[in-house]
Subunit: 253 residues, 2 copies
Amino acid sequence: MEHGSGRRADLYEQLARIGKVVVHPKRIELLDLLCQAERSVEALAEATGLKLTTASAHLQVMRQARLVETRREGTRVFYRAAGEEVCLFVGALNDLARARLAEVDQILRALGTDAAGTERVSRDELLARVQAGEVVVLDVRPEEEYSAGHIPGARSLPLEHLEARLDELDPDLEVVAYCRGPLCLLAPEAVALLRGRGRRARCLEDGLPEWRQAGLPVEEGIGARSGSSDGTNARSSRRERRAPRSPAVGGRS
Amino acid sequence: MEHGSGRRADLYEQLARIGKVVVHPKRIELLDLLCQAERSVEALAEATGLKLTTASAHLQVMRQARLVETRREGTRVFYRAAGEEVCLFVGALNDLARARLAEVDQILRALGTDAAGTERVSRDELLARVQAGEVVVLDVRPEEEYSAGHIPGARSLPLEHLEARLDELDPDLEVVAYCRGPLCLLAPEAVALLRGRGRRARCLEDGLPEWRQAGLPVEEGIGARSGSSDGTNARSSRRERRAPRSPAVGGRS
DNA sequence: ACCGTGCTCCATAGATCTATAGAATAGCCT
DNA sequence: AGGCTATTCTATAGATCTATGGAGCACGGT
């Protein structure tokens, strides 16, 4: 006797609806970006190198799977990840890829991620050393992502400006750079660059999404100076998750 | 910031390789089965209602993504999930679907899962009440899955035989049934049937994969038939596993 | 060796997906 | 209203994926 096998097929069809989103590399890339910060269609198209209409089409697919949501502001539409579960899912995808696909590690290694990486700094170590004032925490992602959420006390210095603004960093302090996560290349590149200049620098073990998912505090808005651009929305910490550890990181700015 | 953008595209392509597996409902179904126990191609084809060649083709896709591995035994080939990460990933997919897709809940409800479900028993409660000898734990999955791994002390009584073998169960004890996980319908159907016969019965909150992932002990082999756990070839393997990104063993999310 | 079994490989028709141009829509500005 | 801008919708050619029958292979039994 086949129990509701038609229904069961329906169930798997629903799961496949989500799977459909992650078949296409560009859609994964978009999802990754959206787990960092919301963005307009135009910004997304630009960031991924897609034509506007193509990007919009991909976003529709993602919306139909309920993985992203939109917000309209005047004439433009901002997309964002539809909840934390989405980020957890892409996290699981990343983990699985690293665990099962040797190719991924190869690519990372070819890019010098591991080479430049030596050891990465653990979250616990970071918290301890930042308390002690021994390190500077550097967010090397684009500024929009920084203001959408960053490690409290971190300063924003996007990789693209790092070279030009190197003198803003105290040469005596070690730098701990972080970016989007273990598969993101921004922080490793930043570290490589810094080391090339004789600085001490390491990467954080993971990126901001993992930090957030660990329940650690996240600060929003334009942080301590060093930023440029319009400083209008400087409210902070909209959603305070359970934060088992010392809340604020770094007393100085 | 266009640094290794070609490489970065490669990376996402690798992720998409995994994504490709979960686009097709039947492949998700196969993966689900393989997270329970290894099976021959024929058995998989039969279980999913696919033609042999089609099933084989799907399995090849999954193998190329390194999500499954094979073992040959004489003339037949057994497939299995390639590591625990795979199960974690399908778990994340399930969680995401339940969180984001109202349709999933609707389907489950239409099937009476929730209706029959009242409250599900938590793992902690189960452990406590089983100690006290107040409940019988029932594994209602097919027997192969039971012998590939089950909750210690649980007895196997596949749903398809439940009605016929009802008299094996002590009418005075409450039954806690479990199956493959929150989206699996075996245990809910079993509970519905038992209640229809005037028995007290509830479902466990999750299935065996979640139990295993929580680091709880799993027993292999053919368990005791009539007694409780005087296991003959029942070695239990405890593998302590850090719960992925959620701290405790309690509820999820 | 020969044959049967259980799978995989190959070829292919039919279905689905992707990129993209151009038209349509929604909200702002004057 | 009329003109703009940012997006979405529509249509479509080209690429990719799926199901399936039949050939090919590896293994074990006789």
